[in-house]
């Protein structure tokens, strides 16, 4: 039986199908030393018998192929991308340009401190700014993504608790937690204890009080949480957790709602991570690279990932900034080098461009836009947790489900209207969840357009649901068969 994935209709051939023997898209300089005899210098038994089957294309063919692929992508420069929890805000062009300065891209990580003061000062000062914004005492930019920051943070919790005499065994998470939270704390050696949220979508303080004990190493929460509501009883929460000797961990993925408004460090959090690729406008890159700095209060400073950027204003060594490797209590390294430096450059430029008032305006407008949307969409979709929200809110397509339309269908239909869908089926506590985060970089006109489209889809769900369940039709490909992909696994082209 022929596999349609290999020889059926294609929208864009793979780079392997485009290959033509003898072509090459790049010219190397002429070799100006004697060519090595590979068998002699590497040993014949170490060599491969045939070169790897890489494709053979000329430069224009490569450019066309990837340009055509690019054209099949939805992206935030095109239209609203209201993925809840993902903070798909505009990525300022100037930051890309700054991260592309040869004075940053061309620095080798083994350069001596004296010769790369600009780079280390940027790392140090970004850490200071993030500390100021969050109310933490110290920040390390080493973790390359949010989940890596979670791991680093949880390992610090563990090291701290061990130093108090017992690493403890459990970390509590609310049922609204992002999946990386339980996964990271498990990797840090803890058992995840999930507690149900209260009827208002917030942590039920009584449930929490009953769940904590001397084995509770930490309570890990997101605030505002993934339903978009602020944990108003944060002081009680902190007291309960600290009362049993536990630490309070903040998943800072939703920090956008707090910039210049409230600082987690003031609210009792001991350790947190940031997502520079959300809050601080660095692009997501279709799945990364991100950057997940981890911030701590002083009680955890000794455990920070190694090395730690530091400043000596008196320049005792002849320069101001360097890395401190002498950190005997450090959890060690979570990244091979210093973290995603070029991403950090973009976040640094972003903070300088905004300044303190600008940061606050980000939070204000993110929250304003979300509340505006929530208000306007409420007539058409169920709102399981009514009331003001912060930077995002969660609708349910439960009414539409009765009409035979699921959240997934709504998501796909949005694509036909040229908009991206919200996050669907998360958080898990809402059935048929549509999690919507407009961000501050959307205009009112673009919010109104989204409302019009959502309204149209709600109407279609009632009148002609097949339009919605049959979506998308306006995308480069129509609905894709995920079960075929999982059943007949094809994750690499051709024979290897």
């Amino acid at each position: 039986m022929s596999d349609p994935r290999k020889n059926g209709q294609t929208v864009e051939p793979t780079v392997f199908e485009l290959s033509h023997p003898g072509r090459s898209g790049y010219r190397l300089p002429a070799l100006d030393v004697p060519p090595a005899d590979l068998a002699e210098v590497l040993g014949a038994s170490n060599l491969r018998s045939t070169p790897p089957e890489l494709p053979e294309l000329s430069e224009p063919e490569v450019v066309r192929h990837f340009t055509r692929l690019a054209e099949m992508n939805f992206h935030v420069d095109r239209a609203m991308y209201p993925l809840g929890s993902c903070t798909m805000k505009y990525n300022p062009r100037i930051n890309e340009e700054m991260a592309g300065l040869p004075g940053f891209t061309g620095v080798h990580p083994e350069t001596t401190a004296a010769e790369c003061q600009g780079a280390i000062s940027l790392i140090y000062n970004l850490g200071r700014m993030l500390a100021e914004i969050s109310g933490m005492d110290h920040v390390s930019i080493q973790p390359p993504a949010g989940a890596s920051g979670e791991l680093a943070g949880m390992l610090m919790v563990r090291a701290y608790q061990a130093d108090q005499g017992n690493p403890r065994s459990k970390v509590i998470v609310p049922d609204t937690a992002h999946g990386t939270n339980p996964a990271s704390l498990t990797l840090a050696g803890y058992e995840a204890v999930e507690i149900p949220s209260g009827p208002d979508g917030r942590i039920d303080v009584q449930v929490l009080a009953a769940a904590v004990d001397e084995e509770t190493a930490a309570f890990m929460i997101t605030n505002p949480n993934t339903l978009g509501v602020f944990e108003s009883r944060i002081a009680d929460i902190a007291e309960i957790v600290h009362g049993v000797g536990g630490l309070l961990y903040l998943d800072g993925a939703n920090l956008n709602a707090s910039l210049g408004v409230v600082r987690p460090g003031d609210a009792g959090f001991d350790v947190m991570h940031f997502n520079l690729h959300k809050t601080f406008a660095t692009p997501h890159g279709g799945g990364g690279p991100g950057s997940g700095p981890v911030g701590v209060k002083s009680l955890l400073a000794d455990y920070l990932p190694c090395p730690v950027a530091r400043r000596d204003e008196r320049k005792a060594l002849g320069f101001e900034y360097d890395f401190d490797y002498d950190r005997p209590k450090s959890i060690g390294k979570v990244h091979a080098v210093y973290g995603n430096f070029l991403v950090a450059v973009k976040a640094y430029a972003y903070i300088l461009t905004l300044g303190p008032q600008g940061l606050r305006r980000v939070a204000e407008n993110a929250v304003l836009n979300a509340n505006y949307l929530q208000k306007k969409l409420e007539p058409f979709f169920e709102l399981p947790f009514p009331g003001l929200c912060q930077h995002e809110f969660v609708l349910s397509a439960s009414r539409q489900k009765e009409q035979g339309v699921r959240a997934l269908d709504v998501a796909k239909r949005l694509l036909d209207y040229g908009l991206h869908s919200p996050t669907v089926y998360f958080p898990l506590v809402v059935k048929e969840a549509l999690m919507i985060e407009p961000t501050e970089t959307e205009s009112r006109a673009s919010l109104d357009r989204f409302v019009d489209v959502m309204k149209a889809i709600a109407e279609e769900s009632a009148s002609s649901p097949e339009l919605v369940t049959g979506a998308p039709t306006g995308t480069p490909v129509s609905r894709l068969d995920e079960s075929l992909a999982a059943k007949e696994l094809d994750v690499a082209w051709g024979k290897t």
Binding site: E150, S478, V491
Partner: protein, 451 residues
């Protein structure tokens, strides 16, 4: 505020629609005491012109590999990045997109990552690859976790010749478990095969870096045999460029191959972003961490791509996921796919040949200098260790003054190697660069030299 479209008037109208009197009211859920005190002390706001001036000043305080003749490597390599790679990575359709959650609107990302996976499979000879990891070090750590889960054993063997940062990250990932980590001793710069037997029993994995931190080829065939006999999974951390000429990990029975892909189209960038990759024997696909892209068809029978086997991942499996990774290094993986496609079968091999040739030319030229010896005899690929008759630190300092960075001081990472330098060569080095290093060393080291 250039990035916020709402005007004051918009705000007022929107507040009215919401039914609140002020923006402050929107934050009513935030306890007042927490809200009222905030007065951030951060610099800015800067105009674009001011920002550029400041950033250029910072950038100018760094010496780059263009400003000097640099032989720094050790895992991050200064190759030429073709303009096309930068161009494609700079397409907003790619870089301003999120993870491809809505497949039908993300075919560009999905197909290019499928192509990346396919290219990694072709380099490593293994059947399956994932969509990327943070870096080669975390990929190695994840491979160990994967092998531990597969074998249900609780010990790992790590070659002491694997890069120090790789070993450090592996140790961090295993810190909270009661897994025993055995560091295998070296002899002549490579893993001492005869010392392996003593540790094999009960081990889940043997992690070897090939070529290793010193640039040397490891005795992978012998290690492979030992692993196979003891039911230990062999994990090879490989330099992707070396795979243009070296036999693929599949040939020596590696169950998992990981590596650092920075050399595939990324600048040195002060060490990040990097690019971790992971490939494995097909039978371990369901044990792999991270995202995996698979081919499928749409309702009209056309080929398309989706994220597949997501039930392994954190957003579904939560505490029981194969890994906590979510965001990976997608854009860097795209860059690697473009890079490999552009160089292609012949260009990539030619690049590896040039790097090998220049590295060996350099080794000969440097070891001809009195007071400089090649420390190890074994075959090496792109870098090698030299022993100097004087401390490496001093040599680095003195050569730095004439714009030559001769390599990494091994003493920073290995005891007793204070006089050793790891010298790394790429296609960017000209014969003249290498000759200047040789004469520079001669001037610094020889008794009549500047010391």
């Amino acid at each position: 505020m250039p990035y916020v479209p709402n005007t004051d008037r918009d705000r007022e109208e929107m507040l009215r629609e919401i039914g609140v009197g002020s923006v402050e009211e929107l934050f009513a859920a935030v306890p007042k005491g927490l809200r009222e005190s905030v007065e951030l002390d951060v610099p800015g706001p800067l105009s674009e012109a001011e920002l550029v001036r400041h950033m250029k000043r910072l950038a100018s305080m760094n010496r780059t590999t263009d400003d000097v003749v640099s032989f720094l490597g050790g895992g991050v390599y200064d190759h030429t990045v073709p303009a096309v790679v930068r161009y494609v990575m700079g397409m907003p359709q790619f870089y301003t997109a999120y993870t491809p959650y809505q497949a039908e609107a993300s075919q560009g990302t999905l197909q290019s990552i499928y192509e990346f996976q396919s290219l990694i499979c072709r380099l490593t000879g293994l059947g399956v690859a994932n969509a990327s990891m943070y870096d080669g070090a975390s990929a190695a750590a994840e491979a160990c976790l994967m092998a531990l889960a597969i074998t249900r054993r609780n010990k790992i063997l790590v070659a002491g010749t694997a890069g120090p940062s790789l070993r450090a990250v592996v140790a961090t990932y295993l810190e909270a478990s009661d897994i025993e980590i055995v560091e295998l001793p070296e002899t002549c710069g490579v893993t001492d095969v005869s010392a392996v037997d003593a540790h094999l029993e009960g081990a889940a994995v043997l992690l070897v870096q090939h070529p290793n931190f010193f640039g040397l080829l490891e005795p992978v065939d012998e290690l492979s045999v030992k692993c196979a006999d003891a039911g230990v999974l062999l994990v090879a951390s490989v330099d992707p460029l070396s795979l243009a000429v070296l036999k693929p990990p599949s040939d020596y029975g590696a169950a998992i191959a990981v590596g650092e892909g920075q050399s595939l189209g990324s600048p040195v960038g002060y060490g990040g972003p990097l690019l971790g990759f992971m490939a494995a024997d097909k039978k371990y696909l369901r044990r792999m961490p991270g995202r995996i892209i698979g081919a499928t068809t749409d309702t009209m029978g056309r080929r398309g791509f989706v994220m597949t086997l997501q039930t392994r991942e954190q957003h579904i499996r939560r505490a029981k996921a194969t890994s906590n990774i979510c965001t990976n290094e997608g854009l860097v993986a795209l860059g690697a796919a473009v890079h490999l496609s552009l160089l292609g079968k012949n260009g990539f091999r030619e690049l590896a040949l040039q790097v090998t040739s220049k590295a060996h030319y350099a080794a000969l030229a440097l070891s001809a200098v009195a007071g400089v010896d090649l420390r190890f005899e074994g075959p090496f690929f792109r870098e090698f260790v030299i022993d100097l008759s004087v401390p490496a630190r001093r040599v680095k300092e003195e050569l730095g003054r004439v714009g030559i960075w001769p390599g990494i001081s091994c003493g920073c990472y290995y005891d007793g190697m204070e006089n050793s330098l790891l010298v790394s060569v790429t296609e960017r080095h000209t014969r003249e660069d290498i000759d200047s290093l040789a004469s520079g060393l001669e001037a610094v080291i020889s008794p009549g030299g500047s010391s």
